[in-house]
Symmetry: D3
Subunit: 184 residues, 6 copies
């Protein structure tokens, strides 16, 4: 799995959670995870999470660290497991910096305030994951938590690279773990 931190700011509007968005925009082919920063505004018409649509909960964050991952030739249930692992790894990268948050499914919470949003979906050929962490906590529809505003993480780029490297390494490790056991 290839990784890339994208320096330029990108406003995440949901349309980026599309097959080959990474390939077409950054010329990275195959399984990949990228991260970027920017405003996040996903309108109901762009949302893939039908639960949020039913509940009329569009997503907004003034400034967010977004991860997009596309992983090919895997089904959606395994894709959700891969999403959960990403969320666990983000939590663990926070722990390395002395910050302890609570994971609840695909949410990271601090004192009941959401630090993150996340979704996993399918295209015909791939699974796609978006996980976003608020950098600033103001301006959101609900009271949220923010990497910089509340947790004091200013080097969001270094943080993102750490997350992506750990994630890529663990996916390799999981693949390898499936090749070392005697069937029973």
């Amino acid at each position: 799995m290839r990784t890339k931190f994208i320096e330029e700011e990108i406003k995440y509007i949901g349309s980026q959670l599309a097959p080959h968005w990474i390939y077409k925009n950054f010329n990275i082919q195959g399984d990949a995870i990228v991260a970027f920063r920017g405003e996040c505004e996903v309108k109901l018409t762009e949302m893939v999470d039908i639960e949020d649509v039913i509940n009329n909960e569009p997503i907004y964050s003034k400034y967010m660290l977004s991860f997009i991952s596309e992983q090919f030739n895997i089904d959606l249930v395994e894709g959700v497991f891969r999403q959960r692992l990403l969320v666990c790894i983000i939590k663990e990268c926070l722990e390395k910096r002395g910050i302890f948050v609570v994971r609840n499914g695909d949410d990271l919470m601090i004192d009941g305030r959401k630090l993150s949003v996340s979704i996993a979906t399918k295209s015909i050929t791939s699974t796609l994951i978006h996980t976003g962490l608020n950098i600033e906590s103001e301006g959101a529809p609900l009271e949220v938590s923010g990497l910089r505003s509340e947790l004091g993480i200013n080097d969001t780029k270094e943080f993102a690279i750490e997350v992506m490297n750990m994630y890529a390494e663990e996916l390799d490790d999981i693949e390898l773990a499936s090749t070392k056991v005697r069937g029973v």
Copy 2:
């Protein structure tokens, strides 16, 4: 997924990581996770982890809390993801008690000492997972950490039940998460 804490002590010798061991012994059919306590001694001839066999590393623990899970009709790579999630959830149940450990793949570590062992493998019809947590830390071949001896967890039964409930709930939640998204 059904869960059960088994009151009687069971010496884990590796042979329990077998298809339908749960069904045959506790009459629990289908996807399940059970937990029990007892000595753990897996000889090289019983190990499914070929890496450990090659490295000549049998497993021993004087007193261990073992989880065995059998999950049907899933392939091994997804099975390893399900194993990793179990390890993450054990870590999070420790955090609820104010104990912070480090996860490294399928290992939980405290100051470089292993708290756990874990493996996932395949039978013809299922994936099988064993995860064991040392309760006592003495007597192991390497210096290890223990739930009771080092972390002060005396109610290992309650702890195990908590882990199993959270695990069963999150697996349901993951299955459900795959049913709520628009394909892209």
Copy 3:
């Protein structure tokens, strides 16, 4: 699998055979089967059965009992088996009322007249099944049979609930049957 009989009449026009139609309209998430009554008119442009399109055979029924089922994370061939089982169960629920019909693939026939229409297809994340039973037999393009007009079934709601319950139970049973056998 969740089941629901929908009291309000719905005209089935084919557009209901869409991913998450059940979830969006009745807030039932995950594998589900619902039933409703109403006119049925599927134009060629809405049909998923290309054979019918090629043969120029639109579907019409003045008053139909329709079942829609969405089942996630299964491939289409298994989806067709699940459709056939639904048709077998409908046949068996008729037999409980002393009515004997002939199954021919996914058709139910009485003296060469079709009682039913049925199709199974795929979305990116699920398999979708529609099976419809004529309640009234008049007005159809071909001579057909009807639950009420010919077979004297007036309690189509009770009949539908029976079918859905038996179907949901057998799917559970099949899943379970795959977990009780020694591999050979």
Copy 4:
């Protein structure tokens, strides 16, 4: 799928439910269903149905019509659907002769007496199905029903060939049904 009625009597003892038993004994390669007649005695040590082992229910029939099918490259859940379809088709072939039995999962019953036994299991490369119909009803551990002794079917060979042909045809038809629909 190839079909064959085997003239010679074979005592079914469970060991025939093994990968390539059909290929090795009758030189029929690939997906196949065969039928034969003979005594049936499956001891607990040979049973693949762990439920029966737990309940201590060996199988015995003085004279049985057995179907064995091996179908390659399909998983066990789909294999159980293929087993259920075989049972439905047997029921329908009985109906053609004016005999009406009740299906309960993979059992066929007459007035609460079992006419049949059936199981589906997995090998590394295939799914294997055994379905047996009592020809004679005496001598069984429970009160059972029999094709000849109770239902008056004397031409069990012709009956078996009819079942196998209908089964082979419907499997082809199901495969084909998955190729004629527009995805949604």
Copy 5:
């Protein structure tokens, strides 16, 4: 797998690489391969190969022998293997006529000039393959090779039929090869 040589010329513009194109146009249902001749012009907007889109490489051939195959219920990776096998078989059919070309992935080359174009992609229910061989070499954007203009093959119809027959036979043979081996 059914095969058909289409006598009428068809201009290949990319839109033919669509689910059920073969079924709708030639009434051939299920796995199939067809061949036809005609101009080939695939504009960037019609291309499924994103690599070519990124590199701004539309496809043009004045006169091409095109093969289109649709194969249902297989994933894309296996679909690419099936595409590679088709390319190998085309190469081998050339060898039967004493013509030796070099295969490089899914390309056939003569002295560094491309004889062929090829792509494999997925629909919701099938894998689709297009492989085209230049008949005439003039008029292409790059210097290419041609079946007739350079290799002297005038009976492109017979050649195409030979390729399709060998391909259909080998796919059957591969399926069968998976049914004759003992698991290990």
Copy 6:
């Protein structure tokens, strides 16, 4: 996929076509292909090809170049495609040296004499492939062809390395090819 030429001679007796044989003997984990030279004698009791067992055709070669490949988490049909590709690549590596042989399924032939033997099978966690090329042609049960004795290839080690490198590269390329196409 990792590759390794094994310098020491190994007598191939069939038992090497076993899960993790490569890992246990050469400490190469994961997908791999290795090659070695030595006598080849596979008795009927060791054969995985049931067709050969039925036909009573044990395998013998006085001196053979053997390739063993283990590839994890793929089903057997795809495994047979991967075997066929290996055979095609061996053929193409011969062509680079000016030697033209005929492929017939998984056999390579020269004037009706077999140069090769090959089989693909499944373990619980992997697909395993053996392909052997006679180096010497004498001593075989049938008249065969040999790399050195007939084709003049003396550098069988270099030849083997070339084959393994091309095979590993094309497998990577195929994986990548599945990630670059728009679904249709």
